[in-house]
């Protein structure tokens, strides 16, 4: 099997400060990778570079496109990259309001992404939007409400529906459960796990919550000061951490 994403030597610095340095990895179809590290460790910078939101200084991010096979998404043209981010890619922001249009109805939020890939039949778009709202456990009678009238957890689920409606193959998630209370987090995690398996999604999840990656991620990458200090199988990295920083991270989690 070929990797879906092949990342080699990605570095990004902000002047003298290092964002992320020389990151390389492969991600295979159906695989979920977690990136953990404290605030400022460069995990969000890396995610932005991978998702094409930020141009790295060096390195290549090769994605296995449906049409042309492996393509470097950094050097491809802007329209091509935009097309990718509407079809094969999805990006779930930490704050749902960054990923949603707050003045457009819930159904409109989901429908917009469908229209971006060419759907034009209103009835079908609405039907698909309602179907997706129910898959993320939002009642059909809320389809015409604006996200601003939703709770934080519902907004986050709406954002996920909006992202997954076009059947992407790779999902980037930036702290998808951050800022939600624990019962809502559990529901969201359960939902994400189901969707990942059902749709055979590959995902890269940035988080500082080790419980989240234990439940969702197959593999883990630990970052500190912009460098990857440890990688491996999620349960191996968490149960038998090798690097001093990872040991500190794992031993700092409060036990309930």
């Amino acid at each position: 099997m070929n990797p879906l994403l092949n990342v080699t030597g990605v570095s990004k610095s902000y002047g003298d400060r290092i964002g992320c340095k020389d990151v390389s990895f492969d991600l295979y179809p159906g695989e979920v990778m977690g990136i953990v590290g404290e605030s400022g460790s460069g995990k969000s910078t890396l995610l932005s570079c991978l998702a094409g939101h930020l141009g790295p200084d060096t390195g290549a991010v090769n994605f296995d496109t449906r049409i042309a096979g492996m393509r470097d998404t950094i050097t491809m043209s802007e329209p091509e990259r935009r097309m990718l981010s509407r079809t094969d890619w999805a990006f779930v922001h930490q704050h749902a309001r960054d990923g949603l249009r707050m003045n457009v109805s819930a159904g409109g939020n989901v429908g917009e992404r469908l229209m971006a890939v060419g759907a034009r039949h209103y009835g079908e778009i609405r039907e698909q939007a309602i179907d997706w709202l129910s898959r993320v456990e939002i009642n059909a009678d809320r389809v015409d409400d604006r996200p601003s009238a939703f709770s934080g957890g519902m907004q986050q689920r709406l954002q996920i529906a909006r992202n997954l409606v076009t059947g992407p193959r790779l999902v980037f998630m930036d702290e998808p459960t951050g800022g939600l209370d624990v019962s809502v987090q559990a529901r969201l995690l359960d939902l994400l796990r189901g969707l990942v398996r059902e749709m055979n999604l590959s995902a890269i999840i940035v988080t500082h919550d080790l419980a989240v990656v234990r439940l969702l991620a197959d593999r883990l990458m630990v970052m500190k000061d912009g460098h990857v200090v440890e990688t491996g199988l999620t349960d191996q990295v968490l149960d038998d951490p090798q690097h001093g920083y990872t040991q500190l991270l794992v031993s700092s989690v409060l036990q309930v």
């Binding site: 559990a186 593999r219 149960d239």
Partner: protein, 227 residues
């Protein structure tokens, strides 16, 4: 099926004066198809550590751990994941599940992961739960609120859902009553009969004598300096 060859392991505690603790040297064992081998030795001698190394949960410092034709000691994460999905099962002492997921789904999950048809996976899960005397009214509930013994039985059902060619059992009968222990014993015997290689930790001597063909004392793998 399982070959552990001259394996060593140490823990380095970077945040506690970088102390390095050697815990195992020269560990070797072999388990053939249809054989059950018990790991014995006092608490803290490294039984669970060795088992976790075979599962790829702990890294191996040196030596080879062959499960089928994969060397777990050096394998890439995705190869270990595939091994765990199809070949190597593990029943740990503790159940770790996603909140909110119903018991029947928890048990069916390993089968779904191998691509088994959903209704067949659920049917198999129900048979296992029934055999292990988990009342049907609990099947649709999450096991997080179950008693210790019930959780352990759910864990066992999950571990036996798929017919793994190799199985690791960490005290599968520890908190079970007589009836359920008997059920688990016969499940282990059935697994042996279909040719599974099993490595187990059993503190219950009667259980060990009944299902295990050999014992391996892991105290023999403890580094001399640590004694």
């Amino acid at each position: 099926m399982i070959t552990v060859d001259n394996v060593s392991k140490s823990f380095t505690l970077h945040n506690q004066a970088a102390a390095t603790i050697p815990v195992m040297v020269g560990a070797s064992l072999q388990v053939k198809a249809g054989e059950c081998v018990a790991l014995v030795g006092q608490s803290g001698s490294g039984k669970s550590t060795l088992m976790r190394m075979i599962y790829g949960n702990y890294l191996t410092a040196g030596g080879r751990i062959m499960v089928g034709d994969l060397d777990v000691a050096v394998a890439a994460p995705r190869d270990i994941l595939a091994l765990r999905r199809y070949t190597l099962g593990y029943v740990s002492q503790f159940l770790r599940v996603v909140p909110r997921v119903p018991t029947v789904e928890v048990v069916a999950e390993p089968l779904l992961a191998t691509g088994t048809d959903r209704s067949a996976a659920i049917a198999r899960a129900e048979v296992l739960l029934d055999n292990l005397n988990i009342p049907e009214r609990l099947w649709s509930l999450s096991p997080t609120t179950f008693s210790g013994g019930e959780q352990q039985r759910v864990n066992i059902a999950r571990g036996f859902a798929h017919n793994y060619p190799a199985l690791l059992l960490d005290e599968p009968t520890a908190s079970l009553d007589g009836v359920n222990r008997e059920v688990v014993m016969s499940m282990i015997e059935e697994a042996k009969a279909r040719g599974a290689s099993i490595v187990g930790i059993f503190h219950d001597e009667a259980a060990r004598d009944r299902v295990c063909d050999r014992e391996i004392d892991v105290t023999g793998f403890t580094p001399r300096a640590a004694i």
